[in-house]
């Protein structure tokens, strides 16, 4: 049946509008759900610290050598300064209101705005996280591809074994092992520290090799396994068999026809790694003394700086929620077959 062009345009426009409406309603639903999650996160982040036994101010003040000599009126003034003399619900709403104004409060320990501290630490975490993501993606895809193409051969066996190992090995243990090997025994790399590449590229590279490799091992292994699995599935398809029968070169078959389709689940997987970047790797940053968000969280928990703990927890949760939303929405562009 021949459909008139006008009808074709009309149908296309209606289809687009329909898709747009569906997409919009999907996004709105997800945003509403995200809002509920955010509220729950603020409640947990705020009240968990408050529900711990003891006065939060006491926790902070007990670290000062002259706490014993502090006069009660000074204690009261300090309590007022931190807003701890208000009812708990007032403190909560005040905190939430301030957060949405960009005021995360003042760190009890650092005595500086938390937003400033996070602004210093997040770039470090993001930089290392993205390096790890790039390395794990590039190597993971390559390894998975080779393993799938060379299925049954020694390369496949080796890469598969390494991928399993990579996912099983504890990251912190691997970090310490690498320090033992590359620093203590071989004296090739420094144990820890962080330098921006703009300050000293050589020093920065040397310091980042071990932490970035440790951070990328798990995601690299997962990417490699997923890539192998989806590639094996794709190359069994009829159209690939047809391409072989037509006599196309292996390179063309793999890279032009098979790879794109096999990337769909892999990209999905990589998308789930993005929130992990913003969360920071506590283990890696602790072992390698990297001044990122993960270590800030550990320092703050140990130092009982509840203002920083609740703020960082909130920001991480927020980033995870919104990156998941963006990744979910982006599936539609990756695979047009997906409908919401």
């Amino acid at each position: 049946m021949i459909v008139p062009k006008r009808r074709q345009c009309y149908n296309f426009a209606r289809g687009c509008t329909s898709q747009f409406t569906v997409m919009t309603s999907y996004i709105i639903r997800r945003l509403l759900a995200a809002l509920v999650v955010i509220i729950l996160v603020t409640l947990v982040a705020f009240f968990v610290m408050r529900l711990l036994p003891g006065d939060p101010l006491q926790l902070y003040m007990s670290g000062t050598i002259d706490l014993n000599a502090m006069e009660p009126e000074k204690v009261a003034a300090l309590r007022h300064e931190f807003g701890l003399d208000k009812p708990i619900w007032e403190q909560y709403f005040s905190w939430v209101f301030n957060i949405f104004r960009g005021d995360f409060g003042t760190s009890l320990y650092y005595r500086t705005p938390v937003s400033g501290i996070m602004a210093q630490r997040y770039p470090v975490t993001i930089y290392i996280g993205f390096l790890a993501l790039i390395i794990s993606t590039v190597i993971g895809l390559s390894v998975g591809l080779v393993a799938a193409i060379k299925r049954g051969k020694w390369a496949d066996t080796l890469f598969t074994a390494l991928a399993y190992l990579g996912q099983a090995v504890p990251v912190f243990w691997l970090g310490i092992l690498m320090i033992y090997l590359f620093n203590l025994q071989l004296h090739w790399l420094p144990t820890s520290g962080f330098t921006w590449p703009t300050q000293d590229l050589g020093d920065s590279t040397r310091k980042l090799i071990m932490p970035v490799l440790c951070l990328s091992v798990t995601t690299l292994s997962a990417t490699a396994r997923q890539m192998r699995s989806s590639m094996l599935e794709v190359i069994r398809q009829d159209y690939i068999r047809t391409a072989w029968s037509k006599g196309l070169r292996e390179r063309d078959i793999v890279f032009r026809h098979a790879l794109k389709n096999s990337l769909i689940p892999v990209v999905t997987l990589i998308g789930t790694f993005i929130p992990w970047i913003f969360g920071g790797s506590v283990f890696i940053e602790t072992i390698f003394a990297i001044p990122g968000v993960g270590r800030l969280l550990v320092d703050s928990i140990v130092g009982k700086d509840y203002v920083v703990v609740q703020s960082v927890t909130f920001v991480i949760a927020l980033i995870v929620i919104f990156t998941n939303l963006i990744v979910d929405i982006s599936y539609r562009w990756i695979d047009p077959r997906i409908k919401y």
């Binding site: 007990s62 670290g63 050598i65 074994a161 399993y164 190992l165 320090i179 033992y180 144990t191 003394a289």
Partner: protein, 529 residues
């Protein structure tokens, strides 16, 4: 076949990695570089070099004294700032920024004569006004020990600082002289409260070069330091790393030359590799337990039971075993060299004696009594108290060990506890007499420990401390208090522990440690490599 190969390969790889990770480093692995042939003989300090140190914490506040935490005032801060008086190993005040301190108990005045020619790192003069500023700042913030007794702070001339107090106490003289650091008012006033947290100008042998609380603190030599010829080092940089294994690797690969972590196992391993253990602050920490003896219904109100508990606990074994020999067992509320110590005094481990005392008190093994030992929930603290509880089983006491979160622990210490002991730690270490009075003096400032029963005789001696006019009288009264404490088995002394750090052999600290209660960074030097 392929599956078998895969399985075998993975198993072998796993075994290799586990063995590689678990194998102890042999003693012959890399240690700090040995001195070269051109190095001068050991004992002759040489100038030069930047010392890198690392530990699990860096200070978060380097310049606003009223809100400085304990950790902020140790290590690197002590290279920058100094006090009016220092303390020798006997606990006596010795000159530092003040050449002498005079007291007049009748007139209730304390007068310091300040050292001339000393400058702050920002070029401002150290004088009476600067000293007065620092005391006033602490007093206004309500954190100056004894600050409430200060009626007036005067500066009759540029190098005389005079306090008029409402009630004279030698304990406060010591606290004023030793507890307040002299920082430049010029910088504090220009930086303001928030700015001063990251900036500081003291009078010490080193001045601040860089401060990043997340990563490092760096100080460099103060060329105008008032002790000529010092410091020997060009600078000191304090780094931070939370992991003990990494810190150990850093010092072994010479990335750092001074390790400030107190991890006992790591220190023991490093000692075996030829590193030195440095006593940074002798007897910095004194651990003891306070019974709920004020409660007449508690078995601990009976002095015979308290004595029995002391006899039943082998403190030497705990110090040598659990504490790896880093602590010295205490059998009285003092330690060798400190005020009130008597080498002939002590209830050493004797289970038979303990059982006898329990029988005299009317208790027997057939009817065990129950108590609780309260303390913090940190693993080392719980382990120590568990060891004590084990010893007490032998004399019919079932002691439950309760680990409390920090805030609850502090609150319970201040508000009281029932039928048990409270684990207490005196951290000042500098002057034992002052430290003792913080807890058990006439007006305890650290914690009132209200559950402790105190006899009228004891309080009679303690109250005299309030009017002690000089060091000799003060120390004499504290000695009497310590003796009475022992006679009444008032508290349960456990052990004294200094802060010990590690360094390779080419870092010389022999003149820096052991001469005073504080570590003298100006006298640290490194051999040229």
């Amino acid at each position: 076949m392929k599956k078998l190969f895969l399985f075998t390969f993975m198993s072998l790889l796993a075994v290799v990695l586990v063995l590689g990770g678990c194998t102890q480093t042999p003693a012959t692995t890399s240690v700090a570089p040995k001195p070269t042939a051109t190095t001068p003989a050991v004992g002759q300090p040489v100038s030069g070099g930047t010392l890198l140190m690392a530990g699990s914490q860096t200070p978060k506040n380097i310049g606003w004294q009223p809100t400085m935490a304990l950790i902020d005032k140790t290590l690197i801060f002590t290279t920058i700032a100094e006090r009016l008086m220092n303390m020798n190993t006997k606990g006596e005040l010795v000159p530092e920024l003040a050449t002498e301190v005079k007291t007049d108990p009748a007139a209730k005045t304390i007068t310091w004569t300040l050292r001339k020619g000393v400058k702050f790192h920002d070029g401002a003069d150290f004088n009476a006004k600067a000293a007065a500023f620092n005391f006033q700042q602490m007093k206004d913030a309500g954190v100056l020990q004894g600050g409430k007794t200060i009626a007036n702070i005067e500066t009759p001339d540029d190098y005389t600082l005079k306090f008029t107090v409402t009630e004279f106490s030698y304990q406060n003289v010591m606290a004023f002289s030793f507890n307040v650091f002299m920082l430049s008012p010029t910088l504090i006033q220009s930086a303001g409260k928030d700015g001063a947290i990251t900036k500081v100008a003291g009078t010490g042998p080193f001045k601040l070069e860089a401060f990043d609380p997340a990563t490092k603190v760096a100080v460099v030599k103060n060329p105008g330091y008032w002790r000529t010829g010092m410091p020997y080092l060009d600078g000191i940089t304090q780094l931070v790393n939370l992991d003990s294994a990494v810190l150990s690797a850093q010092i072994q690969s010479n990335e750092i030359q001074f390790l400030t972590s107190g991890d006992l196992v790591m220190q023991k391993n490093l000692l075996a590799k030829g590193f030195r253990q440095i006593v940074y602050t002798p007897n910095q920490t004194y651990t003891f337990m306070v019974p709920s003896s004020a409660d007449s219904t508690s078995p601990l109100s009976n002095p015979l039971v308290r004595q029995a508990i002391e006899y039943a606990t082998d403190r030497d074994a705990i110090c040598n075993g659990l504490l790896q020999g880093t602590s010295q067992a205490a059998y009285q509320m003092s330690y060798p060299g400190a005020t009130g110590y008597d080498a002939n005094r002590g209830r050493k481990y004797d289970v038979a004696k303990a059982k006898q005392l329990m029988q005299q008190a009317g208790y027997s093994l057939d009817k065990p009594i129950n108590i609780t030992i309260y303390g913090s929930n940190s693993k080392p603290s719980v382990d120590r108290r568990t060891a004590i509880a084990d010893y007490l089983k032998a004399i019919g006491i079932i002691a439950k060990v309760e680990g409390l979160p920090f805030a609850s622990y502090s609150t319970m210490q201040a508000e009281g506890w029932k039928n048990g002991y409270m684990d207490c730690v005196e951290n000042s270490g500098a002057v034992w007499a002052v430290g003792y009075c913080n807890w058990l003096g006439p007006k305890p400032t650290l914690s009132p420990v209200p559950s402790l029963g105190r006899s009228a005789d004891y309080d009679a001696i303690a109250n005299k401390v309030l009017t002690a006019s000089d060091a000799a009288t003060f120390n004499s009264l504290v000695t009497q208090m310590i003796q009475k404490n022992f006679d009444d088995a008032m508290t349960f002394p456990l052990w004294a522990q200094g802060n010990t750090y590690m360094a390779p052999s080419f870092v010389h600290t022999d003149k820096a440690e052991g001469t005073s209660r504080t570590f003298d960074w100006a006298q640290v030097w490194m051999e040229k490599k």
